[in-house]
């Protein structure tokens, strides 16, 4: 029964993926990709990875989807047929691509299936020594304990993506989903709904953050929720794009990383090594770091969606 469901799920994944690639309409592809993300989250949930499912749903499907849609709109020619569009791949080219992809599938499948799961692995050791990390959730232990450097670097990646996007930034009028002028055209329910959703979201984020220590959740998921809130506010015009990054935003952008680095470097003195935590303080420190990280994840994502250097509350 379970396997049948999995089979269905996998088939759905592949079918969607094929549609994403093969579909004629670009919009359709984008939407299907978002759907694919959701299915993927489902699959991961099936594979005992609820944290990942959560993150994939929020980030992989949600935020990425929002970004894609916004970009899709921006890439539409102002007038139809102004752009001939990319020439179709010649038949032999498509054939070669198919052969190559097929070969990859074959090799990969053969190799991946042929791999014996090793008796000893980093994962087993991580589970065995989870206690030393100061948290109870294995994932958080790995992310913020054993392999903290990856997490740190990954947040830097996000910051860098923001910085890079600033380099290629478009004028504010064209940036992100475009300037939204709320008020007249806004559905009636929007404002009250938002008034409900935003505090809820913040609370959920806080909960996720806190829960990350022992069950599914954590800085990423919390950051994703916050970012989703930001997207929402930006779309509804509560948040307006700004041409400059305010000092507060700057601080928020780097604060998490600086905090993480500072605690990490302090570990060389207070604990055994860089990125080690003194045993007694491990949990609070990790929580502090996670808080910083959540902000450091949410803000760049929001800004990236907004396509602007900063955000300002709409003047009332």
């Amino acid at each position: 029964m379970g396997l049948a469901f999995d089979l269905l799920l996998a088939g759905g994944l592949l079918g969607l993926a094929l549609q994403v690639v093969a579909s004629r309409g670009l919009f359709r592809s984008v939407v299907l990709f978002i759907a694919l993300g959701l299915l993927m989250a489902l699959a991961w949930a099936r594979l005992a990875a609820p944290d990942l499912a959560l993150a994939e749903a929020a980030i992989g499907a949600g935020l990425t989807g929002a970004l894609l849609l916004s970009a899709y709109r921006a890439l539409q020619p102002a007038e139809e047929a102004a752009d001939p569009g990319p020439a179709a791949l010649p038949r032999w080219g498509a054939l070669a691509a198919a052969v190559l992809s097929g070969a990859l599938v074959a090799a990969l499948g053969w190799a991946a299936l042929g791999l014996e799961a090793p008796a000893a692995s980093a994962g087993r050791e991580a589970l065995a020594r989870l206690g030393e990390s100061g948290v109870k959730s294995p994932l958080t232990g790995v992310l913020l304990g054993f392999r903290a450097i990856d997490t740190l670097a990954e947040v830097v990646v996000l910051l860098v993506a923001f910085l890079g996007a600033r380099v290629v930034a478009e004028p504010l009028q064209r940036a992100g989903p475009g300037p939204s002028a709320p008020g007249s055209g806004e559905p009636v329910l929007t404002a009250p709904l938002l008034r409900l959703v935003v505090p809820m979201g913040v609370i959920v984020a806080g909960y996720l953050l806190w829960s990350g220590g022992h069950q599914p959740g954590g800085a990423f998921q919390a950051g994703a929720v916050l970012a989703a809130l930001g997207v929402l506010l930006r779309l509804t015009g509560r948040l307006q794009p700004a041409a400059a990054t305010s000092p507060a935003e700057r601080l928020a952008l780097v604060g998490g990383i600086v905090l993480f680095s500072a605690i990490g470097l302090a570990g060389a003195g207070t604990a055994s090594a860089v990125l080690a935590y003194p045993e007694a303080w491990a949990y609070p420190l990790i929580l502090a770091i996670e808080t910083g990280l959540a902000v450091a994840i949410a803000l760049p994502l929001t800004l990236l969606f907004s396509g602007s250097a900063g955000l300002r509350w709409r003047e009332r």
Binding site: A117, S121, V156, V168
Partner: protein, 490 residues
Amino acid sequence: MAELGALSLPLAFFLPLLTALAAFLLGARQAPWLAGIGALATVAAVADAVRRVAAHGPQAYHLGGWAPPLGVELYADGLAALMLAMTAAVALAVTAYAGAYLHGQGQAAERFWPLWLVQWAALNGTFLSADLFNLYVMLELVTLTAVPLVAMAGDRASLGAAMRYLLLALIASLAYLLGVALLYGGTGTLHLREVGELAGAGGPTAVAAALVTAGLLLKAAIFPLHAWLAPAHSSAPAPASAALSALVAQAGVYLVLRLWLWAFPALLSPVVGWGLGGLGAASVLYGSLQALRQSRLKPVIAYSTVAQLGYPLLLLPLAAVPAAASQAWQGAAYFIVAHGLAKAGAFLAAGNVYYSLGHDRLAGLRGLAPELSASVLALGLAWVSLMGLPPTAGFLAKWQLLSGALAGGQWPWAVVVVLGGLLAAGYGFRVLATAHAAAPPGGPVGRPARRLPWRMAATPLLLALAVYLLGVSAVPALRLLGQGAPEALG
């Protein structure tokens, strides 16, 4: 447990990173001096690391105190130390140069500094990390800092180059990650040397190695995956071009060597070696021929990068030949160092040309030499190393490669090395001759519109001179390289 003594290893990553954050926080106005201080601090950390490696052998640092496979290890052997040192030298030059180059360009400066400093941190991380997945993150960091630098000019050409670069780099990263996933699935570890011990030479490992290598070769712009490099590297602003060619692309080559010699030595059969070496050779020849055909200065230099990146791969077919291995190994490693310094010098000198004239068309460079003599001199000096002529580090590296190839009886590589040098001379002198040419009647086309700040004039010259300093004797560097080298290559 971690040794506190080797704190300089994590610091080599953290110091530029924190400087970048500070530079971003405080804005463009404070960035140059901040960057200067951060650069000096980083150089100090690197110097300490290098000193330790030289004195005490390879240094390992277990981040968080977690030993592999659980934690991530920073590992500095001779090769890594050499790369760190080279990176420090180039980065110092780029930092000094960029301060003057970007002076007065508020927005560009504001964006450049954090990106560049993070890139430096990520590069140091790439050279130091002994963890395959951590390497992936570092590589992504490098890529995502590199592409905006390429796009900085914001014109059609640079945006297209950046776009192509980004897409290919992302694919490369994912190919690498796919390989890493397979390796973890097979060995249960991500640690480089443990993977080397556990992976064996089976088919799945071969697929993983192929994926990893394909990704890295794409990042290193090895033929036939080279097409993105030249437009990208020639579109970036000069200091970024220098960093991209001297450091970023070379990091890919470095990782190819690192992985094949440490993680997949069992797979390095003659056929595989000859295949990879053949790709390197093709890169050398193809890049050189392309460089000969360019009509602008920076693309010439960029294609020269394609050519030069191919040389270190010649080590792979030689590594298994006992008579050749040691020399080829030294040659390849020294080659990366020499190329890095020389290429950075060349790009910065080209940047001076661009800065002064507002263009870098070769046809417009006639009669240029008197106006920019220091820069042209630097360009010439750097090129001597790229050609592999004495008394430069490039020559010594080429000599070692050549000797290795000959001692191992694999003369085709020797032919490639010699031929590559000749071609390099061909495209190099094409440029230098133009610069030496008498001005056309009516003065040089486009007289220098801008005076060159002395820092910009001096930096490429100093980089070029460093190549000569390393050309006086390679012994100290090679002794350093010997620390922790695989036994077959020692």
